[in-house]
C-alpha cells in the first residue's frame, strides 16, 4: 500500500536528519572531546581573567583535561573566581599552578595547569592556590614603555 | 410543540452583521419523516437557514429547536450529538479530494464508530449500491464526474443512517437524467429509512415532484408562502406565481435599481 511506502520514506527522512545532526555535532563540533562523564570540580582565583570565557578548555602540557564551567566575582576580595571541571582520569598535585594563556597570537584564552611537586593531590572542591592572571595588552605596552623610558633615563643619568 | 415536528424555527432573525439581516422573523416547522423543500431565488437565505439548523451559526434572535432540544451553538457537546444524527449533502459534493471514493464513504464510519473494517466494507458497498455506484468504489475523486460526485457525497451523507438529511441545491448543474436520478434517490431514501429530508433548491419542477411540503422564501429572508406542491402551483399570489412559472418580471424585478434612463444616457440636459 502507498501508506507503507510513505511511512518508510518519512522514516528515512528522519534518520537522515538525525545522522546529519550527529555528523555536525561529532565531526564538526566538540561533542566528543569533552562529553561530561566523570569529572571533579576545582576552583581558582585570579586578579584578572582577561578574555577567559565559560567552556574554555583547561589544558596541561597542551592536552585538554577539563573545561571552565563558571566565572564569578568574589564580592569581598574582588578577585575573579573560576570554576574548573577536570576529567577524573587526571590528577594534579596540591601545589599546581593555573595560568591564563592565549592560544596562538590572537586566539581564545584558556587555563593552563602546570603540575607542582607535592605528594598530595588536589581533591574535589579544592582551590588551586598558585595562579597567574591573564596578560593585559595595555599593561604590557605600559611596562614596555616604562622600561624603555627607565633605560633612557639611566643612560643619560649614567653619562652625567 | 407537535410530536411529529422534527425541527422548529421560531421567530428567527439572523444576519452576518448587524446592518443587513438575511433572515427576518422566520417561523417554520419541519415535519418528521417528510420531504420538505425550501425554494427561493439566490440570496433569500435558504442556505443560511440550513446552516442555522445545523448549528453552524447562532440566530441573532429567536430559537431553533431540533427534536425538542434548543440548538445552542456554544454547547459543543450538544452540537456534536446533533450532528451525528445529521447528514448533509453539499452543493458540489465537498468530497475529500485526497481520498478514494471508498475512503470518502467510509470516512464517517471510521471516524465516528469503532466498527471493524470488514463490517465497514459491507456498509460502504451497500451505501454505494443504494446510489448506484458500487462499481466505482476504487476510483479516485479526480476521476469521477460532477453527477457521480454528488451521488458519492450522498452515500457519504447517509453512511451513519441519519435522521435528518439536508440537501443544498442537489439539482444545480445536472443534466435531466442525473436530475431524475437525484430526485428519485431523495424520495426513496426518505421513504425507506424513515428519515426527514430538507431540500434547498431553486429547481421548481423537480422539487414539486418529490416534496410533501414546500416553503417559498424571497429576498430579505421572508416566507412568502408554504403548503403542499399542489397548493403552491395553484396559488394566485403574484410572488408565488412568478416563481413557480419562472416569469422574468413580476414582484421580483428584472432591472437592478438604477437612475432614470435619460440621465444615464445624457438625454435629459437638452430639454
Amino acid at each position: 500500500m502507498a501508506r507503507r511506502n510513505i511511512e518508510i520514506l518519512v522514516g528515512l527522512f528522519v534518520v537522515l536528519g538525525l545522522a546529519a545532526l550527529l555528523f555536525v555535532a561529532l565531526k564538526a563540533a566538540n561533542l566528543t572531546s569533552f562529553s561530561g562523564g566523570d569529572s571533579y570540580r576545582l576552583s581558582a582565583r585570579f586578579d584578572n581573567i582577561g578574555g577567559l570565557k565559560v567552556r574554555a578548555p583547561v589544558r596541561s602540557a597542551g592536552v585538554v583535561v577539563g573545561r571552565v564551567t563558571a566565572i564569578g566575582l568574589d564580592a569581598k576580595t574582588y578577585q575573579g573566581v573560576v570554576t574548573l571541571e577536570i576529567d577524573r582520569g587526571y590528577v594534579f598535585p596540591k601545589d599546581s599552578s593555573a595560568k591564563i594563556l592565549t592560544a596562538g597570537l590572537l586566539g581564545d584564552q584558556y587555563v593552563g595547569l602546570e603540575p607542582g611537586g607535592d605528594e598530595k593531590n588536589l581533591a574535589a572542591g579544592d582551590q588551586v592556590k598558585q595562579t597567574q592572571s591573564a596578560v593585559v595588552l595595555e599593561s604590557l605596552i605600559g611596562q614596555f614603555l616604562f622600561s624603555k623610558a627607565a633605560e633612557a633615563g639611566s643612560e643619560t643619568g649614567g653619562k652625567k | 410543540m407537535k410530536p411529529d415536528t422534527l425541527i422548529e424555527i421560531d421567530h428567527v432573525t439572523f444576519g452576518y452583521d448587524e446592518r443587513r439581516s438575511i433572515l427576518n422573523d422566520v417561523s417554520l416547522c419541519f415535519a418528521r419523516g417528510k420531504v420538505t423543500s425550501i425554494l427561493g431565488g439566490s440570496g433569500c437565505g435558504k442556505t443560511t437557514l440550513m446552516r442555522l439548523i445545523a448549528g453552524v451559526h447562532g440566530a441573532n434572535s429567536g430559537r431553533v429547536v431540533f427534536d425538542g432540544e434548543l440548538v445552542d451553538v456554544h454547547d459543543r457537546d450538544l452540537l456534536y450529538r446533533f450532528r451525528r444524527r445529521l447528514g448533509m449533502l453539499f452543493q458540489f459534493g465537498a468530497l475529500f479530494t485526497d481520498l478514494s471514493v471508498y475512503d470518502n464513504v467510509a470516512f464517517p464510519l471510521r471516524e465516528m464508530t469503532d466498527l471493524p473494517e470488514p463490517l465497514i466494507h459491507d456498509i460502504v458497498l451497500m451505501k454505494l449500491n443504494a446510489v448506484g455506484l458500487r462499481g466505482a468504489a476504487r476510483l479516485k475523486i479526480s476521476e469521477v464526474s460532477g453527477g457521480m460526485a454528488r451521488r458519492i457525497a450522498l452515500a457519504r451523507a447517509i453512511a451513519l443512517d441519519p435522521e435528518l438529511i439536508m440537501y443544498d441545491e442537489p439539482f444545480a448543474g445536472l443534466d435531466l437524467i442525473s436530475m431524475g436520478v437525484a430526485a428519485k434517490l431523495i424520495r426513496t431514501l426518505n421513504d425507506v429509512t424513515g428519515a426527514t429530508s430538507l431540500v434547498v433548491s431553486h429547481d421548481v419542477p423537480e422539487c414539486m415532484g418529490i416534496s410533501d411540503h414546500v416553503v417559498l422564501m424571497s429576498s430579505g429572508g421572508r416566507i412568502v408562502a408554504q403548503g403542499t406542491p399542489a397548493e403552491l402551483m395553484a396559488s394566485t399570489e403574484p410572488e408565488v406565481r412568478q416563481f413557480v412559472r419562472g416569469e422574468p418580471d413580476g414582484p421580483v424585478k428584472f432591472h437592478y435599481p438604477a437612475v432614470e434612463m435619460a440621465e444615464d444616457f445624457g438625454l435629459g440636459a437638452r430639454k
Partner: protein, 260 residues
C-alpha cells in the same frame, strides 16, 4: 485631513483585528495538538508532503551555499594568513545562521505556500464545512497534523542544510584549494561548540518551524475562496513568514549568541 485620520484609524483597527484573529487561531491550534499526536499516522503523511518533498531543494541549496561560502571566505581569509580557519568560519556561519534562516525562507516558499493553497482550496470546496457538519473538528483533523509535521520537519531540514553545506565546503577547501583535511576538521572541532552553536541553531530552526507553519495554515484558513484570494494568501504566507523569521532571528541571535 480628517479623512486621512479616519482611514489611518480604520487600517489600524483592521490590523489589530488581524493580529487578534491570528493569536486566537494559534491558541486553537495548540489546543488541538493532543488529538493530532494521538493520530500520528496523519502526521506521518504530512511529514512526507512537507519534509520529504522539500529535501531536494534544501540539499541542493545547502550544497551550493557551502561551495560558494567556502570560496568567498577563502579570498578574505587568505589575506590574513588564516586560510586554515576556512572550515571553522563556514561551519559557524551555517550552523548558527544560514542553516536555520535560509532553510526557513526556502521552507516558507516551498512548503508554506503549498499548505496555504491546499487549506484554502479545501475551504473553498467546502471540505472544511463538511468535516464540521460531520462533528469532526477540522482543526484537529486537518490543521494540527500539518502543524506538528512542519515543526518536526524544519529542524531536520535545517541541520541537513548545514551538514551538506559543510561537506560542500570540504569539497572546495580540501579538494579544490588544497587546505589540509586534518586541520580542516580539527579546527572546527575545537572551535564549534556542540551545545552552544549546534544546539542553538536547532532551537532556532524549531522556532522558525512554528512560525512558518502557523502562518501558512492561518493564511490558508482565512483566505477567500476565490482564485485571487488564494493567490493573495500564498503571497502573504511567504512575505509574512520571511519577515517574521528574519525578525525572530535577530532577537534569537541577540539572546543566544551575545557575548555577555
Amino acid at each position: 485631513m480628517t479623512e486621512w485620520l479616519a482611514v489611518l484609524g480604520a487600517r489600524t483597527l483592521a490590523a489589530l483585528r488581524g493580529w487578534g484573529r491570528s493569536a486566537i487561531f494559534f491558541v486553537d491550534l495548540l489546543r488541538a495538538l493532543p488529538q493530532a499526536l494521538r493520530r500520528f499516522d496523519l502526521v506521518v503523511v504530512q511529514m512526507h508532503a512537507i519534509g520529504n518533498r522539500s529535501l531536494v531543494i534544501i540539499l541542493a541549496s545547502g550544497l551550493a551555499v557551502g561551495f560558494v561560502l567556502a570560496l568567498q571566505m577563502y579570498y578574505a581569509l587568505v589575506k590574513y594568513g588564516a586560510a586554515e580557519s576556512l572550515g571553522l568560519v563556514v561551519n559557524l556561519s551555517l550552523v548558527r545562521e544560514l542553516g536555520p534562516v535560509v532553510t526557513a525562507l526556502l521552507f516558507a516558499g516551498r512548503a508554506g505556500t503549498s499548505l496555504t493553497a491546499e487549506i484554502g482550496l479545501m475551504k473553498a470546496g467546502e471540505q472544511i464545512a463538511a468535516l464540521e457538519l460531520m462533528a469532526i473538528d477540522p482543526r484537529a483533523r486537518v490543521l494540527a497534523p500539518r502543524f506538528v509535521a512542519g515543526v518536526l520537519s524544519m529542524p531536520l531540514l535545517a541541520i541537513l542544510f548545514s551538514a551538506i553545506g559543510i561537506i560542500g565546503a570540504w569539497v572546495v577547501a580540501v579538494g579544490l584549494i588544497g587546505i589540509d583535511a586534518g586541520n580542516f576538521w580539527s579546527i572546527q572541532q575545537s572551535g564549534v561548540d556542540a551545545w552552544r552553536d549546534v544546539g542553538n541553531g536547532v532551537a532556532k530552526s524549531a522556532v522558525f518551524g512554528i512560525i512558518c507553519t502557523a502562518v501558512a495554515l492561518y493564511q490558508g484558513y482565512e483566505t477567500e475562496a476565490t482564485p485571487e484570494g488564494v493567490a493573495y494568501a500564498t503571497t502573504r504566507t511567504v512575505v509574512t513568514s520571511s519577515l517574521a523569521v528574519l525578525g525572530m532571528d535577530f532577537i534569537l541571535t541577540a539572546l543566544m549568541f551575545s557575548t555577555l
